[in-house]
Symmetry: C2
Subunit: 337 residues, 2 copies
């Protein structure tokens, strides 16, 4: 089953999207439908050779949601935009999942508007795999919401665990609640109440974690409200960029240190790659009725390829069905109380 790719979204569109889809077809035999202006897409494809043509199709969409558009307005008015059409293909069952590197707001709004929420989910969440000492920690919500309540956070824990296990392959993921102290008496009102909900649940809850536990990888799933998560995600991006830039300046002080830097460059490059968004490709919008991956605006071909592979994996592992079942069970428990 093919993946719908919003080929007009992202700073490097449509070239990066087209190339990413071609790489996913070549390397992982995953079929994609490229959604966007067909003449542009055909032109990009015509420049490429030696790829499984039968795995790439094109779906015409005449409009584009611009980064300057108000997401809610654009999604409502631009019905023939690539992002709306890509989501519609999933809704109609003509595609299994959608990948977009357009503005996060537009991608989120389109999926919410077209696919709708999974029954019982109050607020969808963006889940980001953050690099840690020993792998990754899934942080959610990373910015789908500006404000959340305790029940949202509990649902984030449920959805994050399913994503971590089914898609990222992290066995029996543990859930930590981000706070300002390990004791259950530490935190703001939201965290104190959420802690109680997690404690009463049958989830793999390890209690509160603190900011420094994230890079140390103390748990597989870290839950917080969308404001806190978005600030951390962007801070992490900025700090990695700043540190690697400072490091470069520090080691090019003299010809001697430049030589040392040259020797360790490949090792440091591999480390830098671990902090590169394109490695994991995209962040799922969990809680909508379909696999929807939101990729970084600066996504290159590799990022698109990895997002398409991750989306296909989410479909194969029936991520949506698993979330649906888990939420139904949870709501059943609540009703029983």
């Amino acid at each position: 089953m093919q993946i719908a790719v919003d080929a007009m979204g992202g700073d490097l569109a449509p070239k990066a999207a087209v190339l990413g889809a071609v790489l996913a077809a070549k390397e992982a035999q995953i079929p994609s439908v490229l959604v966007g202006k067909s003449e542009e897409l055909n032109q990009e494809l015509s420049q490429l050779e030696d790829f499984p043509r039968e795995l790439i199709t094109i779906q015409e969409a005449r409009e584009v949601v611009e980064i300057t558009d108000q997401p809610a307005v654009a999604v409502r008015k631009k019905r023939d935009s690539s992002i709306v059409v890509a989501n519609s293909l999933v809704k109609k069952g003509e595609a299994a999942a959608v990948v977009s590197a357009g503005s996060t707001g537009a991608a989120m709004t389109a999926s919410l508007f077209v696919l709708g929420r999974i029954r019982g989910i109050a607020r969808p969440a963006i889940a980001i795999p953050l690099p840690t000492l020993n792998g990754v920690t899934v942080l959610l919500d990373a910015g789908a919401n500006a404000e959340n309540d305790p029940r949202d956070l509990l649902q984030f824990g449920i959805m994050g665990s399913i994503y971590a296990e089914a898609v990222l392959g992290l066995a029996s993921p543990k859930i930590g609640l981000l706070s300002i102290g390990e004791e259950e008496t530490k935190g703001n009102k939201l965290v104190l109440e959420t802690h109680r909900l997690f404690k009463e649940s049958n989830l793999e809850f390890i209690g509160n974690i603190e900011g420094n536990d994230l890079p140390m990888g103390r748990c597989e799933v870290a839950v917080c409200d969308g404001f806190t998560g978005n600030v951390i995600l962007k801070f992490a991006e900025g700090m990695a960029a700043a540190l690697f830039r400072m490091m470069k300046e520090a080691v090019t002080e003299s010809a001697w240190t430049k030589m040392g830097a040259l020797i360790i460059k490949p090792s440091l490059q591999r480390l830098k790659d671990r902090f590169d968004y394109s490695e994991y490709g995209g962040a799922p919008l969990l809680g909508v009725n379909g696999v929807s991956l939101i990729s970084h605006g600066r996504s290159d071909a590799k990022a698109f390829k990895n997002a398409i592979i991750a989306a296909a994996n989410g479909v194969k592992q029936d991520m949506i069905g698993k979330i649906r079942t888990a939420i139904e069970e949870r709501n059943q428990e609540e009703d029983d109380v």
Copy 2:
């Protein structure tokens, strides 16, 4: 005027505190009064030679607030603890400022309880200088509060600017409000309302900033609630530690890369030092009636020395007087409206 040093607070107490005070006396001619168990302190001092003895005095305090104590209970009950006595010296005018590396909760509670708040300040805040590409950004509140309202955040902006300018020497500091988008319509309820207050004020407000703007150093003062600030502070500490550890592992893969690493080690060490809490020594608790510096629990002698120097600088620059005047003026403006 002497600085009161809680000599029993911190993982390396009392040795690090004693040595730090001696270094501040030797290098900056700042007098300190070491507060704690006099026999232990005298023993530490007796092992040191060649320092200006007249600049170091000892004030007996028989009790110690332990890291496991509940701060509010300990400060009320242990009236003869080093942290309470150190703050009392400031209250009585026998010391000009207090430095403690004990538990943040105890240090904060003792200063609040003994020194009290500056008139008109609702909630004191911990201000942390975060390293950036081009210097430092003062982030506050970094954890004095779990919950804040818009007026608190406005006061944090006022106090943070005074600290940045008077103590850190950052000329005409600009204030940014930490949010999840630059537009004034982006953020949670707290940020939306705070944005309005800042915009109507005559402060040097540059608008919302995002997480990645912090390490990039877009402004001198970054304002947020204590929950968000504490999570970021600890995340930054954890991420720096994780990155430098990963880097070390990456460059010791082979004899060849080890040689490269050896060459650039001094350069990288200087960079690592920029992320070292001991460089700036301590974070002021702004809003209490006296200069109170809270140092990292792992403070070594250098960290104590730098905290003592920063505290003396806060006194010399009349930081408290400037905050008092600014808050009075602000409250006058509010009354006039």
